[in-house]
């Protein structure tokens, strides 16, 4: 009974999440006139790679992909490098103003990003960082940092102090205790934070649009939006762009899945 319930639930979930994407992928391989046939066909009557070929031949899609990856990875690196010590400082030490700092960090989120755009651009211009990927990484880090701090703080808080204190009495330094005890236990939290940060940076449209000019620096969202807004909309090509975007993501997530599945079975915590 329980099994059937689970099976149904799993199927429904997969269908809900995947069906639109499956449709996109099927459309990517249809020749253009077939895309506008009514009633629509499910499987392509004629499978064709022409859309994908056009995508790579006529656009800078490959470049956009690389740019997005670089910028997102950079954002994750910088955000974690700053947020992990930050969250550690907020949870493992008692000091005055700790709560206030946490609150202020959250406040920065409440100002709608789109209103920040123009002053942010002016600032980047003054720093000569417009039209650079570094500038974009800084923008995304600033945007992701409050959230990363909050999430890591929450995860660190859920890990009992006693475990590190045990390590400390065994003679380890604070740094060693953090590295050997806290971080491994907080691994799911680190991965979750890193993942969320990557996604926020990967998905952003408006900062990339305003801060970048050169076509060779564009990230995927901007590149794909331009394809969509091109006056001659090539649906087959757009759908193939969307499909290709999924491939590296699928690979990344397969890897992360394994990690999450292993959970963390070391003593004291559920395996």
């Amino acid at each position: 009974m329980r099994r059937a319930f689970i099976a149904c639930g799993a199927l429904a979930l997969v269908f809900f999440a995947a069906a639109p994407l499956a449709w996109m992928m099927l459309t990517a391989f249809k020749p253009p006139p077939e895309i506008f046939v009514s009633p629509p066909t499910f499987l392509p009557g004629e499978w064709t790679m022409a859309n994908v070929q056009r995508l790579f031949a006529e656009t800078r899609f490959a470049t956009y992909l690389v740019n997005s990856a670089l910028v997102a990875a950079g954002t994750v690196a910088l955000t974690l490098a700053v947020a992990i010590p930050g969250a550690y400082g907020l949870t493992r030490f008692r000091w005055r103003g700790r709560e206030a700092v946490s609150m202020t960090v959250l406040f920065t989120y409440m100002f709608a990003p789109i209103m920040v755009i123009i002053p942010f651009y002016v600032l980047m211009r003054a720093l000569e960082l417009t039209n650079t990927r570094v500038g974009l990484v800084l923008a995304y880090t600033a945007f992701c940092l409050p959230f990363a701090l909050w999430l890591l703080r929450s995860f660190f808080q859920s890990i009992p102090l006693e475990l590190e204190e045990a390590a400390l009495t065994d003679g380890a330094s604070r740094l060693q205790a953090m590295r050997d005890v806290l971080l491994p236990l907080a691994a799911p939290g680190l991965i979750a934070t890193g993942t969320f940060t990557f996604i926020l940076a990967w998905n952003d449209y408006i900062f990339a649009r305003v801060l970048l000019s050169a076509d060779e620096l564009k990230t995927l969202p901007v590149g794909i939006a331009d394809l969509y807004n091109a006056s001659v909309v090539d649906w087959g090509m757009i759908m193939s762009a969307g499909t290709l975007v999924l491939v590296p993501v699928f690979v990344v997530f397969l890897f992360i899945q394994k990690y999450l599945v292993e959970g963390w079975g070391s003593g004291g915590i559920k395996g």
Binding site: F36, G74, R125, R133, V137, D215, D226, V232
Partner: protein, 436 residues
């Protein structure tokens, strides 16, 4: 150790390929179609080869994004050298002293060589502050085969058009398709009010939307959209083309030359030609005498605050040279109507296969342009271009679109809808100081 190496590699990859060139000309344009972008890149590459030490940084943006970027760059005090813009944007910027004249380029092309209509765009006190990259009028596209079968005549008045739409409607196919986008509704309204002998704002900037001509326009649209697919307000420009070649609609009131390429790519093979999709000259309204078609003619603008304006002028001259301009025009040959008579009459241009196939579409555009029946968006009188710099804000505010939707979707009486729009427009103009 390994994470550190990875980190270093990442930083290197991020920082390294940022271009460092001596003189950079930033050129922003709205032709996002891949082959047009490629043509621009080719032209830029050839220019760079002829002018070592100069780098051309191109960017193609949708119109809505472009306006935002221009704004941000003006706010930062670093506008690009060259950019496309709407005609009304050009005059607005010029009125604030932010542009430089392009008369050098006009001279290089030959003042008499440029069509008169083109020169009227963004011309202030005898100087040309904007130079149109290519023109393209809006087109009333129709299914020639169906019209022939039904024996319908070209519509001379709005009533004729509605009758044709009604006759063409059948199960599975609607009579007409129009887009519901803010931009296109504004374009449409500008065209229609001009075709009906009316105006949007009078000489003292008072809005005229409560006029008889506007009420007639709204009533016409209400009638016409009875034969449009339900939910037409959610159709963008692209969807209307999809409706046309997907055979869901028999006419399209606001098509452009780009449609020819779309039809060739997407319509069923045996129908993808001018025998099935042709254009009519638009009809005029009951209070008007002649139709007016909007012209999609974005001018190049040269920004005063940019660094390398002299090189930018040279680039523009290079852009309009025959080989370069021809390559550009040929990327969207039916929509890019050339600004020079020499190109229009040029043999290579005329023998472009696509131009031969869709000749009728180009003739219709020439009809409007040569009889001075073409106007930029929201401009009714040419004087409006220079005297009414607030047209940009009117477009962006969506007030006119809201008025149309009030009548067509919310079923409000035209009197109520136009009254509301009149109040909102007056508030807008008063707050900007154009109306006392």
């Amino acid at each position: 150790m390994r994470p550190i190496l990875a980190m270093a590699a990442l930083v290197a990859a991020l920082v390294v390929p940022e271009a460092q060139a001596q003189k950079v000309i930033r050129v922003w344009h709205t032709e996002t179609q891949p082959n047009s972008q490629q043509a621009m890149r080719n032209i830029a590459a050839r220019f760079e080869a002829k002018n070592p030490g100069v780098k051309v940084e191109l960017e193609a943006l949708a119109w809505t994004d472009l306006e935002g970027k221009i704004m941000a760059s003006l706010a930062a005090g670093t506008p690009p050298e060259l950019s496309h813009g709407q005609p009304i944007t050009c005059t607005a910027l010029q009125s604030k002293g932010l542009l430089l004249p392009l008369d050098d380029v006009v001279k290089a092309l030959g003042e008499d060589n440029i069509f008169d209509q083109i020169k009227r765009v963004c011309r202030v006190e005898g100087k040309q502050y904007g130079l149109v990259h290519a023109a393209g009028t809006s087109l009333l596209i129709y299914r020639k085969d169906l019209v022939r079968k039904l024996g319908l005549k070209p519509p001379k008045t709005w009533a004729d058009l509605v009758a044709n739409a009604k006759a063409l409607a059948r199960p599975g196919m609607y009579g007409i398709t129009i887009p519901g986008d803010n931009l296109f509704i504004n374009i449409l309204l500008g065209e229609l009010i001009a075709s009906n002998g009316g105006m949007l704002f009078d000489k003292s900037n008072r809005p005229q939307v409560t006029s008889k001509q506007m009420v007639e326009t709204l009533e016409f649209l209400k009638e016409l959209t009875r034969y449009a697919p339900p939910g037409w307000e959610g159709h963008g420009y692209r969807e209307t083309f999809t409706n046309l070649y997907g055979q869901k609609a028999a006419m399209m009131f606001q098509g452009y030359g780009r449609g020819a390429s779309l039809i060739e790519a997407n319509a069923p093979k045996d129908m993808a030609n001018a025998d099935f999709f042709d254009v009519w000259v638009k009809p005029h309204g009951p209070s008007g005498k002649a139709p007016v078609a909007q012209v999609d003619e974005e001018p190049w603008m040269l920004f005063k605050g940019a660094r390398n304006t002299r090189e930018a002028i040279e680039f523009l001259k290079f852009f309009y040279q025959k080989d370069n301009y021809l390559e550009y025009i040929q990327t969207v040959p039916i929509h890019f109507f050339p600004i020079t008579k020499s190109m229009r009459g040029d043999r290579d241009y005329q023998s472009t296969p696509m131009i031969q196939r869709w000749k009728g579409w180009l003739d219709a555009q020439e009809h409007y342009l040569s009889r001075d029946l073409g106007r930029p968006t929201l401009v009714v009188d040419w004087a409006d271009m220079n005297n009414k710099p607030y047209l940009m804000e009117v477009l962006g505010s969506g007030i006119l679109r809201d008025m149309v939707m009030d009548v067509l979707l919310e079923n409000k009486a035209p009197k109520e809808a136009t009254g509301r729009a009149q109040r909102r427009l007056e508030d807008l103009l008063k707050s900007k100081g154009y109306l006392k």
